[in-house]
């Protein structure tokens, strides 16, 4: 009985979400904010229901099944929500709820009514499609909602399509998305060939060659969407171009849905997994994590910086998945489970803090009207609540205790520390290298967020807009606050949560209990503060401090973001490969009269310069060539081709027959 009501409730919730989406379309041209408000409230309600349902499934573990085959007979719309799916739906609905609250006021500063309404429509559709991708039981419906997710997010990215930069980002995103679908379709068809059905169920025995082929396709397909290096390049373009609530959804959720797909196929569909897959995933994850943070450090565009951190964190999650596969292939199921839970928990955590960061960054950007952090500064006084929220996100993403980011990275460290249990020395050493890189990554992430928080919020404002910034409106604080509370809660009470949920899954997790340390710290703090109050009751003085001999400091003298990251860029210059470009223009052909010159120092964008652009140029070149071949005005060449083709065909027939 309880099951029936649950799936009815689930359908109801998603239906509400759809309704919320369609409602805005109905009143497309209405200027009033109420249309969007109603839609968002309904969506919020739907998300709340989804949170309840999915958390109950995560706790109880009883799966939910239903289908829409009556409505869409040819599409095979079967759905199954088991614990894994429910976990992802939980993540989706929590973050979507926060983003929904945030969106109540976020769009206010855009003038175009119709577009804003469409934005809300697409946003709800986007969330809906993510929920259903995860719930899909069958590759067709998986693909349907996957594509729906891609298309809706593509339109959302193109929200400000007047900007050339946005169009470029949209195009990049779209092409990569299409590529991802290419690989997914290939993998699905391989599986279909072997099993004879599109059902997402454990496949029977497959030949190892085909299985590996399917794995590689899936890995690339999901990897593109998840932003694994070297398929990441769309991410730092698309996330900054999109409105911030969408960046939050894309970074917090969409790339996780790709990881969900990877986990689902690896652990639930494939009949077997091989060691080398695990190593491949682990190495890909490590490289992504490291390069992601390295690229983030040089960024001055706040949202692009966050986007690169998404790559980093996806890398970390992948490391967990890779470890899981490695341990499974050695039969160490308990450790495999720990690694998997590390990956899953980090998925949730990253969703929380990354959405939090994107949302607060959105508030900051809409106040300062720039994404360049060098033009911000001093916002901690002007936007205090936003600053605190961003700070919580920054601490969480830097994996510092007692916040949630630390807990999941801890689990990952723990499983990497267990490399001594693996019999193969080579694998052990690989794991140790990955461990080192992971430590390096988290330290660099901390450095990067010191830079980000420091430049954006601290010191004196560096621009007019930053000086006049105001605190964001209530919904833009309330939405992120929910996420911030979860960031702290999931960190401090991680031990308690895991010891509550652990027995239900049948594993225990070696987490350090954060609560005693935190409470000891709190007690000590209280003692120190009280001690100080008792001994010295003077109020601290606020005044001008020493300014290197100059009377009053101005913001030009502050340490800039580029200055901050300079030492790291210097240390890792073998990765950045700074290039000096010297261009000179002359008035005449003999190059005697100098007109103007340009010198710039730029970092080599390795993947763009050596991978993506050459491919794009090749396609373009082929296309141009074909174009010029087909654009003749005269008839003769085409009749000539026809002659050749027909003669060729006849010769072919002669040879074959």
């Amino acid at each position: 009985m309880i099951n029936i009501t649950l799936d009815m409730l689930f359908i109801l919730a998603t239906f509400l979400l759809l309704l919320a989406a369609l409602y805005t379309l109905l009143f497309l041209t209405k200027k009033s904010k109420i249309v969007r408000g109603v839609s968002l409230s309904v969506a919020l309600l739907a998300n709340a229901i989804l949170i309840l349902i999915s958390s109950s499934i995560v706790y109880s573990g009883t799966a939910l099944e239903f289908n829409f085959n009556q409505i869409f007979p040819m599409m095979g719309m079967d759905f199954l929500i088991d614990r894994l799916a429910a976990f992802f739906i939980l993540a989706v609905s929590i973050i979507a709820a926060a983003v929904t609250v945030y969106s109540f006021h976020y769009l206010d500063h855009y003038p175009q009514t119709r577009r804003k309404n469409i934005h809300i429509f697409l946003m709800n559709l986007f969330v809906l499609s993510m929920v259903y991708v995860v719930a899909s039981r069958n590759m067709i419906s998986f693909l349907i909602f996957w594509e729906l997710m891609s298309v809706s997010s593509f339109f959302l990215v193109c929200f400000e399509f007047e900007k050339a930069e946005t169009r470029k980002a949209g195009l990049f995103y779209f092409i990569m998305t299409q590529l991802s679908t290419v690989f997914l379709i290939c993998a699905f068809v391989i599986l279909y060939n072997e099993t004879g059905s599109f059902e997402l169920a454990r496949a029977s025995e497959m030949s190892s060659g085909l299985l590996s082929m399917a794995f590689i396709s899936l890995f690339i397909g999901f990897g593109i969407k998840a932003g694994i290096i070297p398929f990441h390049k769309w991410l730092p373009y698309a996330h900054p171009a999109a409105p911030s609530n969408i960046s939050a959804l894309m970074s917090g959720l969409m790339i996780k849905v790709a990881l969900y797909g990877l986990i689902r196929f690896l652990l639930y569909i494939f009949p077997a997994t091989y060691l080398w897959w695990g190593i491949l995933i682990l190495i890909a994850g490590t490289v992504s994590a490291f390069l992601g943070v390295i690229y983030a450090l040089k960024e001055h565009d706040l949202k692009r910086l966050l986007a690169y951190h998404s790559i980093e964190n996806v890398g970390i999650i992948l490391m967990g998945i890779g470890m899981c596969v490695i341990f499974t292939s050695y039969g160490l199921t308990a450790l495999a489970m720990i690694s998997l839970v590390a990956a899953l928990f980090h998925t949730l955590n990253h969703g929380l803090f990354k959405s939090l960061l994107f949302l607060t960054a959105g508030s900051v950007i809409s106040e300062t009207r720039t994404r360049n952090i060098e033009e911000m500064g001093g916002l901690v006084k002007r936007m205090p609540k936003t600053a605190v929220l961003f700070f919580i996100g920054a601490v969480s993403i830097s994996a510092l205790p007692p916040f949630n980011g630390f807990v999941s990275e801890f689990l990952l460290f723990h499983s990497l520390f267990q490399s001594s249990l693996i019999p193969d020395p080579i694998v052990q050493l690989i794991m140790l290298v990955c461990l080192t890189v992971l430590a390096l990554t988290s330290a660099l992430a901390a450095a990067c967020f010191v830079k980000a928080f420091g430049t954006v919020f601290l010191a004196a404002p560096r621009s007019e807009h930053a000086a006049q910034a105001k605190e964001a409106s209530w919904s833009m604080v309330a939405g992120p606050s929910l996420l911030a509370a979860l960031c702290i809660g999931l960190g401090v009470f991680s031990f308690q949560i895991f010891s509550w949920i652990g027995p239900r899954i049948g594993y225990s997790f070696p987490l350090p209990d954060m609560l005693p340390a935190v409470s000891v710290g709190a007690v000590l703090l209280l003692m120190i503060v009280i001690g100080f109050r008792l001994t010295d009751s003077r109020k601290p003085r606020v005044s001008e401090t020493w300014g290197c001999g100059i009377n009053s400091q101005n913001s030009k003298m502050e340490y800039t973001a580029s200055g901050f990251s300079q030492p790291i860029i210097n240390i890792f210059s073998f990765i950045y490969q700074p290039q000096k470009i010297n261009k000179r223009y002359f008035m005449d052909i003999q190059e005697t009269v100098f007109r103007e010159g340009k010198v710039e120092i730029r970092m080599v964008r390795f993947f763009e310069d050596y991978v993506y652009l050459p491919i794009a140029r090749t396609v373009q070149r082929i296309s141009r060539w074909l174009y010029s071949q087909q654009n003749e005005v005269t008839l003769d060449p085409f009749i000539f081709y026809e002659f050749l083709a027909i003669l060729g065909l006849i010769l072919l027939v002669g040879v074959i027959v």
Binding site: V380, P512, V520, L524, E544
Partner: protein
Amino acid sequence: MSVEFILYCLMNLGLVIVLAPLFISLIKIVKASAQGRKGPSVFQTYRNLMKLFKKEVIYSSNSSWIMRITPYVNIICMLVAALFVPLVFIPGPQSWFGNVILFLYIFALARFFMALAGLDAGSTFGGMGSSREMSLSSLTEPAMILVFAALAFVYQATNLFDIFITLSESPLMAFNPSLMLLAISLFIILIAETARIPLDNPETHLELTMVHEAMILEQSGRNLALMEMSAAVKQLLLMSVLINIFFPWGNTTSFTIPAIAGSLVLFLVKCILLALVIGLFESSLAKMRLFRLPNLLIIASVLAFLTVILEVFLP
């Protein structure tokens, strides 16, 4: 939670607070005598701290709550971390404290705040210090993790309590030659983390050399005292980790006054010796250029890695 454990906590905290400033002065004395000077008294650091505690706090008008909470966060972090490293008495296996990774990341938390505070006032020196600190620490951290991973490899444990207990049961394990490599790494890390020559110079306020000092340049009064205190505690904690792992004799697991007194004396002796080594090491080197430092830290990582390779291939 036993009474023994509560007493352990109080004792560890007390010892750390009392002893930490001592070794700051001790190293200064060693350095001074190496240079042929007389050097300050052993209690000079205590006096400095007392004086600072009495002074008024001044905040820059640019600064925010980050500046105000950083000293407290720092000292709290160090004191909580102090519970993770049994100095003289090991109360038995613990699940609350002692986890190596958490231990390292508590330091990272403190550093995070300190770096932000450096940026908070908007002065050029603070930013420079933060930038250098974060750059260098990003290299120290992997080295530390690697060292502890190697230890986990050797002792099959990730909890400092467990490692210490294993060692106190069979101290001869510390004679493992590959551990020597680890000791060197840990020593380099110790030097790096406590802002000493050749990585940093704690004595001067020179633009070229400042790292740690630059960050706390804007701190004043009792806040500065708290920052100095945290630095001292951190130094002592790292020293005692080094000592207790590589020279584990004397640590007691039984909670009796003679045993504790004995191990305390031994611990003091070992610490003084280590302080001597640190002082001499510092005096024998010149400050390195900033961009040569990564090499030093990479050496530390490589040594730790070598240990693991030795352990993996020659079990």
